[in-house]
Structures are given as structure tokens and as C-alpha cells.
């Protein structure tokens, strides 16, 4: 473990974030949506550890509940993209031919539409909301996972043991399930960790722009949006949610780097 400092540091940060989510499910110092105007814009104190915002809501409670939102959107968007993207990538690698071409050109095409552009289109059509954010980030992830699993699976398909399996009469589905998927799992896990970090950043950005989760559901991105209005009276409000986002993204990025070194030493980059 000592030889993988980034894995350990990332693991600790991610564990902290997950603990915050678990704690927020059972307990927050105050109900996160509770408005208490007489106690607005308080500085940190024993009663309110990180102070209160412009509506008197407890910042610590909002941060804890916001962790839940980021996890929820991340799991939904990355899960959606990873499952369907990997399935398409495996299919393309197994079938080759025109289907492969078609799927990969579609993936190329969708790379010209980053998650934010997709979210803008969806928001214009269906109105903003958490499902808009999940769909946009999920669509982007779908293309990412389709390409990665296609190229990783393509490499496995050209190996001798796959040829042996085919000689034994196994069909494409069986080979994909028993040989290809286990061999590309490491790559997919590492990518999922990194995409999770991307998803948290995207969710925060969308919520900041008002295209993500709707009030009263707490979100780190929207907290920053609200903090910006009170930058002159209460600049401290703009610090906490940003730190929370940066630490969880940093943790996931470090964990992804560490996992790559652990799971696939050949891929370990020169440091």
C-alpha cells in the first residue's frame, strides 16, 4: 500500500464522501431545507458549525445532503452510460462489420456534443430537472464506454485463447461473457471511477446553471449559485460547496489513477 500513495489518498477522500452520504441518510444537524430567516447569513458557531445561508438554512446540513445528490446523479448517470455503452461496445467488437462501423461513427458523432450541450438541448425541450441532468451525463458516458469497451474488447478478440475457445465451438455470446468481459473489467472499473468524477463536476455545473436538480433538493452546484448573489455580504458561503466538490472529485481521480496502477501494472504510467 505504501507504494500506492494516490490510491490510499483517493480512497480516504472517497470514503469520507461516502460517509457523508451515509450520515446524511440517518442524521443532519438541521433539516437541510428548513428555512429560518431570522438566523440568516450567520458565521460559523457552535449551533451552526459552518454558519447559515441567505435563507437561514444550516450550511453543514446542506453540504451533507448535497453529497447525497451528487452520489445519486453520479450512480444513475455513470451506471446508465456504463451498462448500455459497454453492451454496445461488446456487441460491436463481437459482430464487427457494418454494425461496428455504425456504432462507432455514432459514438464519434456524440463526442461533438459534450454533456452540457446535450443538457441545454434537453432543458430547452423538456425543461430543466434532475432527469435532464442524468440523461445528458448518461448519454455522454454511453459514448465514452462504448468506445473504450470496443477497443479493449477488440484487443481481446485477437488473442489466441479466444481462437481456442472458438475452435471448441463456443459462440460469440459465450466468448464475450466468459473471456472478453473478465479481461476488460479492470479497464472499465478504472474508467468508471474517473467518469464518476466527471459526472460530479457536470452535475455541479448543471445545477449551478439552474439546469440540474430543482429546489428544495440540495445540491453543491446550486449552493454556489445562491452564494454568488451574496458574495459581498457573506463571501464564506462560496467556499464550502466548492471545497466539497473539489475534494470528492480529487478523491475519485486519485482513486482511479491508483486503481489503474494496481489492476494493470503494464498500464502504469511513468511518474
Amino acid at each position: 500500500m505504501r507504494r500506492h500513495p494516490s490510491f490510499v489518498a483517493g480512497g480516504v477522500l472517497v470514503a469520507l464522501w461516502l460517509t457523508a452520504v451515509l450520515v446524511s441518510l440517518a442524521w443532519t444537524p438541521y433539516p437541510p431545507a428548513e428555512i429560518d430567516i431570522p438566523n440568516k447569513l450567520l458565521l460559523p458557531s457552535a449551533a451552526h458549525w459552518l454558519g447559515t445561508d441567505s435563507l437561514g438554512r444550516d450550511i453543514a446540513s446542506l453540504l451533507l445532503a448535497g453529497a447525497r445528490t451528487s452520489l445519486l446523479v453520479g450512480v444513475a448517470a455513470v451506471g446508465l452510460g456504463a451498462l448500455s455503452g459497454t453492451a454496445l461496445g461488446l456487441l460491436a467488437a463481437a459482430r464487427r462489420g457494418w454494425l461496428d462501423e455504425l456504432l462507432m461513427r455514432c459514438a464519434d458523432f456524440s463526442f461533438a456534443f459534450p454533456a452540457l450541450l446535450t443538457a441545454l438541448m434537453l432543458a430547452a425541450l423538456y425543461g430543466p430537472g434532475v432527469s435532464t441532468a442524468v440523461a445528458a451525463i448518461g448519454l455522454f458516458n454511453l459514448a465514452v464506454f462504448a468506445r473504450i469497451s470496443r477497443s479493449a474488447a477488440g484487443a481481446v478478440w485477437s488473442r489466441d485463447f479466444v481462437l481456442a475457445a472458438r475452435a471448441c465451438g463456443r459462440n460469440r455470446l459465450q466468448i464475450t461473457r466468459d473471456h472478453v468481459l473478465p479481461n476488460i473489467a479492470a479497464v472499465l472499473i478504472v474508467q468508471a471511477t474517473i467518469q464518476f468524477a466527471v459526472a460530479i463536476l457536470a452535475e455541479a455545473a448543471l445545477s449551478y446553471l439552474g439546469l440540474g436538480v430543482r429546489p428544495p433538493q440540495p445540491s453543491w452546484g446550486r449552493m454556489l449559485n445562491e452564494a454568488q448573489e451574496f458574495m459581498f455580504q457573506a463571501p464564506q458561503l462560496a467556499l464550502y460547496p466548492g471545497i466539497a466538490i473539489a475534494l470528492s472529485v480529487l478523491g475519485l481521480n486519485l482513486l482511479g489513477d491508483g486503481l489503474r496502477d494496481l489492476l494493470d501494472p503494464r498500464l502504469a504510467r511513468e511518474r
Binding site: A112, L116, L117, G210, L224, G242, I245, A246, L250, R269
Partner: protein
């Protein structure tokens, strides 16, 4: 809006016909595509102006913002990346890598807010938002674009510095570098004259890929600084349900991403003839 609540059904129907809303969606979509092909982006319902005019006006903010940010990114990333590679496995290298790891984790809009807090609220060196316009000359305009461009460049530079560092490290292992050193060239001369040029291929490739991030970043940062660029236009259009404007701007962005990546491919082939040979 064009009609109020007292509008007669006949007036409503006339307007629907005038806007082409009586046609089924596939026909409207085909009309929009045909218009795009002729360079006609359509007419904004909310602004009652051609969308092309709106976009041209807003480009005066977004284009310089993207260019200045790209320049900052390139300068910072090349300097930091080459420096880190030259100090490989020493303190300077570790410092740059830590900084870039941090830069990748910080959301650009939060960094933008921090910049406003420090340079506009506390020090009051720069405006906290808004755009001065080009009428009073370039200085006030660029002054209002400086902080947004820095916010936009920081994240991009963090990623690009990493790529530069590993590309430079890779090239430094090549034989011709040792030969150049043996010829008596200084480390610095070898780095900047021989290594960097060869390391540019992966760096340029990533810069092309980053362009999509730059564009979406610009949309967010424009919102933070209340810059009247294309990003803000899209938000107003979403609020106004002015779908055509959103559609046109999104298509423009996507087309720009594709065009830039194509240009980068051409540039790479010019820079490294081996790449051209590999495709044959």
C-alpha cells in the same frame, strides 16, 4: 410575445401558419436543415430578429474569450509541462503534478467565483462581471475578459500540462536527444528546440479534444461573469422557450468542435510527415 390573451382563434391560426407551426415536426425539421444548408439559421421568436444576427453579435464576446483562454492554456501548460519534465522526479516536478491534480478537481465556475472574490470584491482590480464592449477600444474589453479567460484556462492547463510533461519525457528518452547533448548543446536548447517540437503531436491532439471542454466551459464561465456571449444567449433562449436559438447555437458549437479537430488532424500531418504515411 406577439399575441395577448384576447387574441382571436383566427389570429392564432394565422400566426401558427406564419411561423410554420401548422406543419408536422418532420417537415419543420427538414425546413430547418434545408435552411442551415443555405446559411439561413431561421428567425428568433423571442427577439424577433434573424438568429444569425444574434449569434454574430454574441460571437464578439465568446470568440475573443475562447482565444484568450486558449492562449493562456497553451502558455501555462507548455511552460509547466516542460519545466516538470526537466525536473523529473524532483521537487519541481512533484509540485507541478500536484498543482495539475488540484486543477483538474476544481470546477471552473467555482474557480471563477474565487477569482471574483479575490480580484473584484477584495482587491477591486477587475470588474466582477459584465462586458465593457469594444466601442471604447480593446483595453476595457480585454480587461473584462481577463478573469473569465483565466478561470477557463486553469482547468484546461492542468490537463494539458500533464500531457506535455509525459510527451516531453517520452521524447527525452530518444537517441537524437543524447546526440544533440553530445554535440554540446545545452539542456535548455535541446529541450526547447528539439524535444518540444517532437512532443507537440500528442499535445496538439489533446488540445483539439479539449476544445469541446473549452466551449462548454465558456458557456458556464459567461454565466458566472454575466458576459453577454453565446452561452448567455442560450440561457435566455431556454428561459424564453426560444427553441430555434438553442438548436442553432448547439449546432454551431458542435460544428466548431468537429472543424477544430479536423484542422488539428491536418496540422499534425504537416508537423509529422510520418502520420501521413501511416494512413496510406
Amino acid at each position: 410575445m406577439r399575441l395577448d390573451t384576447t387574441a382571436t382563434p383566427e389570429a392564432l391560426e394565422a400566426l401558427n401558419r406564419q411561423l410554420g407551426l401548422d406543419q408536422p415536426p418532420p417537415v419543420r425539421y427538414a425546413r430547418w436543415l434545408a435552411g442551415l444548408a443555405r446559411g439561413d439559421l431561421g428567425h428568433s421568436v423571442a427577439y424577433d430578429t434573424p438568429v444569425a444576427e444574434l449569434i454574430a453579435e454574441r460571437l464578439q464576446v465568446t470568440l475573443p474569450l475562447a482565444l484568450v483562454a486558449m492562449a493562456f492554456t497553451t502558455l501555462a501548460a507548455l511552460a509547466l509541462g516542460v519545466y516538470a519534465a526537466a525536473r523529473h522526479r524532483r521537487l519541481g516536478d512533484a509540485g507541478v503534478m500536484a498543482l495539475s491534480q488540484l486543477g483538474m478537481a476544481v470546477p471552473n465556475f467555482w474557480f471563477a467565483i474565487l477569482l471574483i472574490l479575490v480580484f473584484a470584491v477584495k482587491l477591486q482590480w477587475f470588474p466582477a462581471g459584465g462586458f465593457a464592449g469594444w466601442d471604447d477600444g480593446a483595453v476595457p474589453a480585454l480587461r473584462s475578459l481577463l478573469l473569465p479567460a483565466v478561470a477557463l484556462a486553469a482547468v484546461q492547463a492542468a490537463i494539458l500540462a500533464r500531457v506535455t510533461r509525459s510527451a516531453v519525457l517520452e521524447v527525452m528518452r530518444e537517441d537524437f536527444v543524447r546526440t544533440a547533448r553530445a554535440h554540446g548543446l545545452t539542456q535548455r536548447a535541446v529541450l526547447w528546440r528539439h524535444v518540444l517540437r517532437n512532443a507537440l503531436v500528442p499535445v496538439l491532439t489533446v488540445m483539439g479534444l479539449q476544445f469541446a471542454n473549452l466551449i462548454t466551459g465558456a458557456i458556464v464561465v459567461e454565466k458566472v461573469f454575466a458576459l453577454p456571449g453565446l452561452g448567455l444567449l442560450v440561457f435566455q433562449a431556454i428561459a424564453n422557450r426560444d427553441l430555434l436559438v438553442v438548436q442553432d447555437v448547439v449546432m454551431l458549437f458542435a460544428a466548431a468542435v468537429i472543424a477544430i479537430n479536423f484542422a488539428v488532424d491536418l496540422l499534425l500531418a504537416a508537423l509529422d510527415p510520418r502520420l501521413k504515411a501511416a494512413h496510406r
